[in-house]
């Protein structure tokens, strides 16, 4: 399911990252790659603050929709 469906506070694993090329490389640098645990801290009209590898990252709804996760 897309990350947008994950409820706040629950942990999941990234499965597939469907984001386009350059942005994906940037996400990789931030630790957002398949196999990594991820959880959602808060949400404002679709934009998310996520917790990954100990850091907090704000991502837009567009990216969250392209990140597939498994609970």
């Amino acid at each position: 399911m897309p990350l947008t469906m994950l409820s706040i506070g629950k942990e999941a694993k990234i499965n597939v990252c469907r984001v386009a090329d350059t942005t994906r490389k940037y996400l990789e640098g931030l630790g957002i790659i398949p196999g990594v645990s991820i959880s959602v801290i808060s949400e404002i009209s679709g934009n998310l603050i996520i917790s990954i590898k100990g850091s907090r990252i704000a991502i837009s709804q567009g990216i969250a929709q392209q990140l597939m996760v498994d609970e």
Partner: protein, 678 residues
Amino acid sequence: MQYTFALVGNPNSGKTTLFNEITGSTQHVGNWPGVTVEKKEGKVKKHKENIKIIDLPGIYSLSPYSLEEVLARDYIVDQKPDVIINIVEGTNIERNLYLTTQLMEFGVPVIVALNMMDAVKTRGEEIDILQLEKSLNLPVVPTIATKGKGVNELIEKALVLAQTASAKTEEAPVKKFDELIEKSITQLENLVTKELTLDYNPRWVAVKLLEDDMDIKEKADISVNLNNEVIMCRERIQKGYNNDDVETVIADNRYKFISNVISKSVKKKSSRTLSTSDKIDKIVTNRILALPIFLAIMWVVYYVSISTLGDYTIGWVEWLIGDVIGGTISEWLVGAGAADWLHGLVIDGIIGGIGGVMVFVPQLMILFFFISLLEDSGYMARVAFIMDRIFRKFGLSGKSFIPMLIGTGCSVPGIMATRTIENEKDRRMTIILTPFIPCGAKWPVFAMFIAAFFADKAWIAPAIYIIGIGIAILSGLLLKSTVLKGEAAPFVMELPEYRLPKLKGTLIHMWDRGKAFMIKAGTIIFIASGVIWLLQSFDASFSMVEAENSMLASIGRVIAPIFSPLGFGEWRAAVATVTGLLAKEVVVATLGILHGIGEVAEDDPSLISSITQSFSTLSAFSFMIFTLIAAPCFAAIGAMKREFNSWKWTFLTLGYQTGLAWILGTLVFQIGSIIGLG
């Protein structure tokens, strides 16, 4: 012998703090990713060797995404520092080591500064330094940059590394990747060594080629043979990994290597509780509360800086400059028997001109103090997140908000802050729109006109702000559907942990920004005031005349007709719009001098009464609108040129801004006249 050390690390990992510690300078440190937007140089203080330190912008990886990442990478690749000091945030070691795994490939000696060790301890974590050194095969020095701990040791070790680097025989690189990838790397490396003449590390080039890095493909002239080999290797890896994308496989390999390193050297406390920072975020970025909290904070900031504390300081500065300094100098000049013209030049020209500007410095300082506080605490990054959805509606991302907010103080740092915006289109748009947000230097102009014409209308000051923001929004929509088409880039931004700002840091930061205004008052405005006074006191044959017959009046009358449709086609007003290009505060100084009063304050009764001779209420309003929207000062234009890196875009922007200002000013005056205002 001179050595060059480059500081490289993730954004917000404490590089600039470390840089300041090493060099003894006071560079601006903030708590949002991307504070260092250009590289800074310094020298190691109190050291027998001549060591240059380069502070590079923070980067997450060496696959450049934003302009600052390109800057950092190009520096390392092309300039080849003697040592790379890689700052690794101890509390976020896993993510930070990703960059380290890439730095290791350059062939430049790397030393790791494991920073924020105090925070690591507070969290109850432990890092085995020796083990970490062994697994990474790099020297590691624990540091606490904010307290200066470990800094000397770091420099000493880095120096040893630099001095022994050339003597060292090539070591076998640490194996970070699995067999399949290592095999491909070795294969490509051999070919690269044979074929390429570039002064790059072949192994690094090999890895970059595997990652399909566009930049390296452009720089290195890749032969058909090598290119085929790259394609073959990529296909082989893809097959071996169930058709997974090669870049992802390599990134995954790097993270696996890191996990391995971490598992051996870091003892983590596996607590799943929310940190204090998360708890603050729960409230501050709450979907319902976020916007009201933000608006409340901004209201307090402006209310305190402009209305309460700020207003109180104005009278104080007026007294200091007008009565104390001006009075003393005037007495002294009279006592020394100075000529009338000299007395006029000094008192009416220079002190009058500078005074009109200086009264706003305390207000600006207070505003800068608050903006610094917002940055240093970590809230600024959240603001970008909160504003993203709103900004997206007119084609910008939330990241454009920070430059605009800084722009309320001064457009120059605002325009420079656009570097953190990765997307070229978003960046251009933000540079074009930021000057519409009224900067601190425009306050004196508005304040003067408000005092003269709108003293009983409290709504006019906020209205000017709202008009500025409205123009920015409408221009955003216009640009989005014309020259800068397309949606804003997806928003991704690391949010730093909230930190209690240190008073010293915030004050330094405030001072850095405020200083520029004072320097401006002492240089540009000083000279401009003098020159304007001279031009308005003499005619072309250099005999002293009434302002009406002066050189400046002749010049002013030539350009005045341009502004007739806006209602201020009077030569003094026309001159003021032009001198405003030097610095917006000069508008006040100009009008002050031209109305023949060496007065320091924009709300002085005699200035106000004589200004009403040049303007009507309506033309005053159209003048304010023109000042608000027209081309910014030369300093901001210079910043624009640097950031656009194009004269074409700079002139287009200036043309758009000034053209729009003229049209709106005309509309205000003409429509206002028809419906009988003013």
